[in-house]
């Protein structure tokens, strides 16, 4: 987990943030609406990769928490009359942490495929709950997510798209920057070092006083929080919380994005989220066999570039600097 030297990194991040901030001014509204889900996924993947890339636990049920975020947004805006987006994000995260606790208590005792299957099972369980409890969840039609207020302003004068690619876009970007910074601090803290020790060798870590189960649990809860925040962003963006959000293929997409971007790097999953969203959209527009081409892309990445796009980028960077 080597990261580029501090100053280069800071400049790079600043350039990307400025570019993202300028994006709605230069790109068409269609492409700007594509960036919104990428913000949501990027935040969800920051959490997902704390578990996968940093702690060594691959969850196949992480869409569960994304769905909890979207449904929290639906219940809060639709049923409880809570419109504040800031409150929605916070409550969604807390609900996900509470829901994650029993899952985590069980799952952190297992690693590798057993952990993956357990998380997959819980994801499926939640999907059936959403699907079958029609009165509570709206079943297969899902639940509407109403437009939230941003810092108390409702922006009633804006139509839906203008709201989304205007103020909502910037609040989501700000949220991504803040949560990415928080995650950066987490993985570079003493706690983060102990997570890496757990990933590398849990038995050795225990003998060095690392509380393996407890820290896996903490990492799981943090990742659930991030997943739900991402889900709330998606829910507001779509205007709908749909049971498909919790379906296992959606969990698979989270894994896909992370591997595509590169799980060994902090920024890999973020790059993966943006690439995936644009790739999927372009492929869907170009061919009805888009799933096939996505599959091929994943296969090529895994075989030829196991460190993902970020690995490719950092190799290119290293070469350029040496020259």
């Amino acid at each position: 987990m080597k990261d580029a030297p501090g100053r280069v990194l800071l400049v790079g991040v600043a350039i990307v943030v400025v570019a993202l901030a300028a994006f709605p001014k230069v790109a068409s509204p269609y492409y700007t609406t594509l960036v919104l889900p990428a913000f949501g996924y990027a935040i969800a993947l920051l959490g997902f990769n704390l578990l996968f890339g940093f702690t060594g636990l691959l969850s196949f049920g992480h869409a569960l928490f994304v769905a909890i975020g979207a449904y929290s947004a639906a219940v809060l805006t639709g049923k409880l009359g809570v419109k504040s987006f800031e409150a929605i994000v916070l409550v969604a995260g807390i609900v996900a942490v509470i829901a994650a606790l029993p899952v985590a208590l069980l799952a952190v005792r297992y690693v590798r495929i057993f952990f993956g299957i357990l998380t997959l099972a819980f994801g499926m369980l939640f999907h059936s709950f959403l699907f079958k409890f029609y009165n509570l969840t709206g079943g297969d039609t899902g639940m509407r997510v109403l437009r939230p207020t941003l810092f108390g302003t409702d922006f009633k004068e804006l139509d839906k798209t203008t709201f989304l690619i205007g103020p909502y876009y910037y609040e989501c970007l700000a949220l991504l920057v803040v949560l990415a910074f928080a995650m950066w601090r987490i993985v570079h803290s003493p706690f983060g070092l102990h997570l890496a020790a757990i990933r590398e060798n849990p038995r050795k870590a225990e003998y060095l006083g690392v509380r393996v189960h407890r820290f896996r649990l903490l990492a799981f809860l943090i990742s659930a929080f991030y997943g739900a925040v991402g889900g709330a962003i998606l829910g507001v963006n779509i205007g709908q919380a749909d049971p498909e959000l919790a379906y296992w293929t959606h969990s698979g997409e989270l894994v896909f994005m992370t591997v595509l971007g590169g799980f060994a790097s902090f920024f890999g999953p973020l790059l993966g989220a943006f690439t995936f969203i644009f790739l999927k959209s372009e492929l869907m527009g170009a061919t009805e066999y888009w799933r096939f081409f996505l599959g091929v892309t994943l296969a090529v990445i895994v075989i030829a570039f196991p460190r993902g796009l970020m690995g490719l980028a950092s190799d290119a960077w290293t070469k350029a600097v040496r020259r």
Binding site: H188, F191, L193, E200, K204, A205, G209
Partner: protein, 266 residues
């Protein structure tokens, strides 16, 4: 004995179904001792070590560390109370650097692991401590090397260095020189013993097959056979008894015993 004993077992029995791995083992380790645990394969050494480190709960009997019951408390609590363990097979964190590996233990020892957003990189005191520990083991020139890329001997030293970074009162070394060429064995043992003294380690438990090392570095030898303590005596008395030596090391007895006696003869 129990007043001064750091580690003490009384009548420890460990059975797996019908198979009895340990059968009434009583021993005590006091401060200042380096106690070697020896015995043929299947004598119960590993089981004893696992009981002593709180990994296994004995079927019967008591196991105490500093007067407190440690039966089955597990490695994390044991590390907190002051006992560290290094493994027979090298245990490293392959992708972490030498400095990071040692830092894992320093973070544990300084109880900083729950500092979730504190900057690890800016903790100067912590990295100074890491450099100090690395220097004891001659790893200070390799701080930024990835553990996976070290030589076998360096990996071994790193494994043990990280255990020392816990500042233990007692350290348990499970065949510390296994997998190391015979020429390096003494060098590694020498480093270990010196490091233990410098780090303030009060007692060393040593599981070792190489009787030359046992003879040279231990102050007492506990010989196990069939899950029972066959002998518990000082090296001189141990090697003076051909029957016991034969039971433990078999045919190599003549050379070793002779060598040892010769070495100590006035």
């Amino acid at each position: 004995m129990s007043d001064t004993a750091l580690i003490e077992t009384i009548g420890v029995k460990k059975a797996y179904g019908d198979f009895v791995a340990l059968d009434g083992v009583s021993l005590a380790v006091a401060a200042g001792e380096t106690v070697a645990i020896v015995g043929p394969n299947g004598a119960g050494k590993t089981t004893l070590v696992n009981v002593l480190t709180g990994l296994l709960k004995p079927t019967e009997g008591v196991v105490r560390f500093k007067g407190e019951d440690i039966a089955g408390i597990g490695p994390v609590l044991l590390a907190q109370r002051g006992m560290a363990r290094a493994f027979q097979l090298v245990h490293i964190f392959p992708a972490l650097t030498v400095a990071e590996t040692i830092a894992v233990a320093v973070v544990s020892h300084e109880r900083q692991s729950l500092r979730v957003v504190a900057s690890l990189g800016k903790n100067r005191a912590l990295w100074q401590r890491v450099r100090d520990v690395a220097a004891i083991f001659g790893l200070d020139g390799k701080l930024d090397s990835t553990a996976r890329l070290l030589s076998q001997g360096e990996k071994k030293l790193l494994d043990i260095a990280s255990a020392f970074a816990l500042v233990p009162e007692v350290i348990l070394l499970d065949e510390p020189t296994s997998g190391v060429s015979s020429g390096d064995k003494h060098a590694i043992m020498r480093t270990l013993v010196d490091a233990a003294q410098r780090a303030g380690v009060k007692a060393i438990l040593l599981v070792e097959h190489d009787m030359d090392l046992v003879a040279e570095y231990s102050t007492r030898i506990v010989a196990l056979q069939g899950g029972k303590v066959l002998a518990d005596r000082a090296p001189d008395a141990f090697f003076a008894d051909p029957e016991i030596v034969a039971a433990i090391v078999g045919k190599r007895v003549g050379r070793l015993a002779a060598g040892h006696t010769a070495g100590r003869a006035p």
